[in-house]
Structures are given as C-alpha cells and as structure tokens.
C-alpha cells in the first residue's frame, strides 16, 4: 500500500521541480545551460562506460588474438585456434569447468541446509547475543582469509582432506555462509508477520505455516542467497589455492596458472567462461533481491 503512494509521489516529482528553476532565466541562457549539461552528462557517461567495459573488451580481444605484440594497437591476426584448444573434450579446461560447477552446486546445498534454519532463527526467534551471532557469520569474510586458509590446509592435511572435493566444498561453504545466513535472515524478516499469524489462527501448525507461508514468501531472497553462494564458490581462488592443490583444479586456478605462465589467450578464454554466469546472474539479481529485503541486510 505504502509502495503505491511512494511511486505516485515519485512520478509527480519531475513535473513540479524544474519550474521554479527555469522561470528566473531568459530563454537563450536556459537553452545554453541545458545543452551544456547534456553534453557534460554524455561525456561523463561515456568515460564511465569506457572504464567499465574497456577491461572486458581487452579480454575479448585477447581471446581471439592469435598473434599480438608490442607496437600494434590491435591483434595482428585473429582466430579461434585457442578456443578449440580450450574446448577440446579431453582438455584441462573442460574438466576444470566440470569440477568448478560440481563444487559450486555442492557448496550451495551445504550452505542452504545450514543457513535456512539459522536465518529463520535469527529473524523470528528470540536468541541471546543476536548481534554477536550475526557478526560471527561475518567473521570468515571479515578476517583476512589467507591467514585462515593456510591453517585450514594444515588441519585438513592431518585428516586427509587436502586435495579433495569435500575439503574444497567445506571451505567454500564456510566462506559463503555470511551471504546465505544474512540474506536468509533478511528475507525471513521481510515476510509479513500478519500472514503467518493468519495461518496460525485458522489452525495451521507452526511447521505447516513455515513451509506453506513463510518459506515460499522468503523464497526469492533465499534464491538470491543461493546465487551469491554459487558465484562465491565459482569465484573462489584463495581457499582452493591452499586447500585444493594439487589434485583439485578449478577454473580460477587454471586461469591463474595460464596467466602467470604468459598464456594470455587461454587465461582470457577461461576468464570469459567464468564471466558468463556472473553476468547472467547480475542481469536477474534484482528480480530476486527486492529493496525491502536489501534494506534489512545486516540488521
């Protein structure tokens, strides 16, 4: 209800505001200022777009460059030779891709299994030291992870988890927990409590209320948290660098090895493969993560 009022206020605003500003100036000066300001906005937007997309454009150029050396501003010869190398079914890249996606899916399952109950408890139930508990989930992100991972690797080594997929999944899930717990808590907090009370009033059990009312209403937010965890796992470099080597090679590790080895084509193509899910999720994220949920994150 209040949302409707807000949008109508917002749409009424542009009509009412410029009038008093324009009335005081003679017409030619107004036009000059209008052109100047438009030019300024176009130039600003152009510079912004250049710095935003320039690095990505360079990546795409490198992935299709078969030869590119110093004095030339653009690649000397173009081709898809390196794409064929990467996408050979037996190649390192395909097995890394499968490893990465598999680890990311398992990480989402583990993270959601522990963070849906935790998020509900944080949003709805009385917990002692609630703020401290929220901060505790932030800690794996709030602490410089390299220092933690070197010790996780040491502990994992003693129980045989280094270089295994379960070891990497556990590290990724703990790292993503702040997103899944905080966003799940915000999503549950944004669910209208009256709807739950209405269900309880007409005789639904607490469990049934949760599964038919609360969880479906919080589902977009929880989907968003799953997306965050999935991407966090797909991105993850540091933990895999210490815990996964040498047996588990995810895409980021492949990219790192190729780039440091000077093979910019393979590195750029691997980077582009990692870009696809990132950009897709970026395009749909606002559908899942509504402003009412976002404003409750971290509270």
């Amino acid at each position: 209800m209040s949302g409707n009022v807000r949008t109508s206020l917002a749409s009424a605003a542009p009509a009412s505001i410029p009038l008093p500003v324009n009335q005081g100036l003679p017409a030619p000066r107004v036009r000059f200022w209008a052109y100047g300001s438009t030019l300024f906005k176009v130039l600003g937007l152009g510079a912004f777009a250049f710095f935003l997309f320039g690095p990505l454009a360079n990546l795409v150029l490198w992935s299709f460059a078969e030869r590119w050396y110093a004095p030339f501003k653009l690649p000397v010869t173009y081709g898809t030779r390196y794409w064929e190398v990467v996408f050979r079914p037996t190649g390192d890249a395909m097995s890394s891709l499968l490893t990465s996606v598999g680890i990311a899916c398992l990480t989402v399952l583990v993270a959601l299994a522990v963070s849906i109950p935790a998020g509900y408890a944080l949003a709805r139930l009385k917990l002692p030291w609630r703020t401290a508990l929220m901060i505790l989930f932030l800690l794996p992100q709030a602490f410089p992870s390299v220092a933690i991972y070197i010790n996780v690797a040491r502990v994992f080594y003693s129980i045989g988890l280094t270089g295994t997929v379960p070891g990497v999944v556990l590290v990724h899930a703990a790292h993503g927990l702040v997103y899944s717990v905080w966003i799940a808590a915000a999503a549950f907090a944004a669910v209208d409590r009256d709807l739950e009370l209405a269900a309880r009033n007409i005789g639904a059990s607490p469990l049934r209320t949760f599964f038919t009312i609360t969880l479906p209403l919080a589902a977009p937010g929880i989907m968003a948290s799953a997306i965050f965890v999935f991407l966090e796992s797909l991105d993850e470099f540091t933990g895999t660098f210490f815990v996964g080597v040498p047996q588990v090679t995810t895409l980021p590790l492949l990219l790192y090895n190729a780039s440091m080895g000077g093979n910019y084509q393979i590195a750029s193509i691997t980077a582009l493969i990692l870009l696809v899910p990132s950009v897709l999720f970026m395009l749909v994220i606002e559908r899942f993560l509504k402003a009412d949920v976002l404003s409750k994150v971290g509270q």
């Binding site: 690095p55 963070s115 408890a121 703020t131 780039s259 976002l294 994150v297 971290g298």
Partner: protein, 277 residues
C-alpha cells in the same frame, strides 16, 4: 509467537558448528602459531621478524585498502545519488543498466582484465593515444599500486552501489521532495537528507568491501608483481617458499588487527543505532 530460545539455538547450531570447525579452530591455530616459539614458550619474536621483513608491505596494504574503500564509497554515493535524485530519465536508465556489470565478476577475472587493460601497451593507453589525448612515448604501465586500486574499485563499486541504491529507493520520498521544495540543491539533499537515512547500509557495504579487499590474494599477485606488495602475497610466499608458518601467521594476526579495527567501528555504530531505537 514468543518461543523458548532453545529451538532457535538448535536451528542455528549447525551453522555455528561449521563456523567453529572451519573458522574459529584454524583461527586459534594461527594465534598459537604466531605467539609461541617451537619450545612452546610465549614470545613475540615472530612479530619482530615479520615487522623487520614486511613493515613496508604493512603500510602499503593499509594505504591500498583505505584509499580503495574511500574511492568506492565516493563513487557509489555519486552513482546511487544520481539514480535517486537525477531528473534526466535517459541518464538514470543508462546508468542503471551500466553500473552493475562488474558486480559478480570474480576478482581473478577482474585481475586478468586489468593485467591487459592497464599494461603499457594495453587498451587504455592505446585508446588515449588513438584519441590524441596522449603521445605514444608518454604511455606508462599502471600495473603497480594504482592498478590494484583501480581493480578493487572497479570490482567493489557495483556491490556498494546496489546496496545503497536499494536502500535509497526504500526511504520516504516525501523527505526528499520537502527538501527540494524548500530550495535545497540536489547535492545538499543527497548529503543532508538521503545519506543519513542510508548510512547503516553504506557502512555495511564498505566494511564488507574493506575486508574483502584485505583478503584478496589474486589481484596483488596478478596486477602488481613487484615489491612492495600486499600482506596476502607475503603470507602465501612464506608458506610456499619456506614453509614458515610462524612468520606467515604473525602477518596474519597483523591483518586480523586491521580488520578487527574496522569491525569495531561497525559494531560501535550498530550499538549506538540500537540505543537510539
């Protein structure tokens, strides 16, 4: 719907157990390793060694992360402010569709992009030369501290802006209209009316960005190879080259202190906020 907190604790227990096993236990491990000698005696010798070898890198890390956080905050406020207060519809639409692109791009991909874009013969210098803004001889490589900052800001601005623009969209627009109708400029409305209402969200976004940037290993390794470098690279180097866990963990504790200071600022603000409510 008051319930005993026991159920709540049971629901949150698995998540807490995970943090305990995968974070608190290794954290204790690192503290023990940093503060004890091989004989098991408490000592600060590892910190002395860490300071002697890496004091420049400690300052370098602080400089990079603080400058990157401030720039991220300023640019995010500017973009979110334009999205909320601008009266030019096409600018809002264009900006809204543009700013989010790097949001989920992995740091390692961003590092690879910048490794080529900011190089001496990268696309940035080449474009400036082609546009006549720069002579070819003036082209220099940005693959040093500037490259790290550019990469961090490029990657973190969309994240903070998304949170900030979301929070700004949900504040009461009547307060903005009131300020504008009384003749306040948009900049003044942004600073005096909008920002105070979304400050909590801005702080969360910047704190998360700060500690994220403090923890990233790939960007300093790939964007700026030479000395000085960031603490994360030094830690990885101590482990991989010397198996020197003690000095690496001492460096780790130093970076905990940096992150802890920021967390403390956040907590203090949170408590103040709670007291007001």
């Amino acid at each position: 719907m008051e319930r005993p907190s026991l159920i709540g604790l049971a629901l949150i227990a698995p998540a807490l157990a995970m943090i305990g096993a995968l974070f608190l236990y290794p954290l204790g491990f690192s503290l023990v390793s940093a503060f004890t000698e091989e004989s098991g005696r408490l000592s600060l010798t590892h910190f002395q060694k860490a300071y002697e070898l890496y004091s420049t890198d400690i300052l370098f890390t602080l400089f990079i992360v603080i400058v990157s956080t401030l720039l991220t905050g300023l640019i995010s406020i500017a973009i979110a402010g334009i999205l909320t207060l601008s009266e030019t519809p096409w600018l809002i639409t264009a900006l809204r569709n543009l700013y989010r692109w790097p949001l989920f791009i992995p740091f390692i991909v961003a590092a690879q992009c910048m490794r080529t874009f900011l190089a001496k013969n990268g696309l940035m210098n080449n474009s400036f030369v082609a546009l006549g803004l720069m002579e070819p001889l003036q082209a220099t490589s940005f693959l040093d501290w500037r490259g790290i900052i550019v990469t961090f800001v490029w990657k973190q601005v969309p994240f903070v802006t998304l949170m900030l623009a979301g929070a700004m969209a949900s504040i009461d627009r009547a307060t903005i209209e009131a300020g504008r109708n009384l003749g306040a400029s948009r900049l003044r409305v942004l600073i005096e009316i909008v920002l105070p209402q979304v400050f909590q969200t801005l702080l969360v976004g910047l704190v998360l960005s700060f500690v994220t940037m403090l923890s990233v290993l790939s960007v300093p390794m790939m964007v700026a190879g030479s000395q000085p470098t960031m603490l994360t690279v030094d830690m990885a180097f101590r482990i991989n080259s010397y198996g020197d866990y003690a000095t690496a963990n001492a460096l780790g504790v130093i970076s905990y202190l940096i992150a802890g200071t920021v967390a403390w600022i956040y907590l203090r603000h949170n408590v103040k906020q709670g007291a007001q409510a």
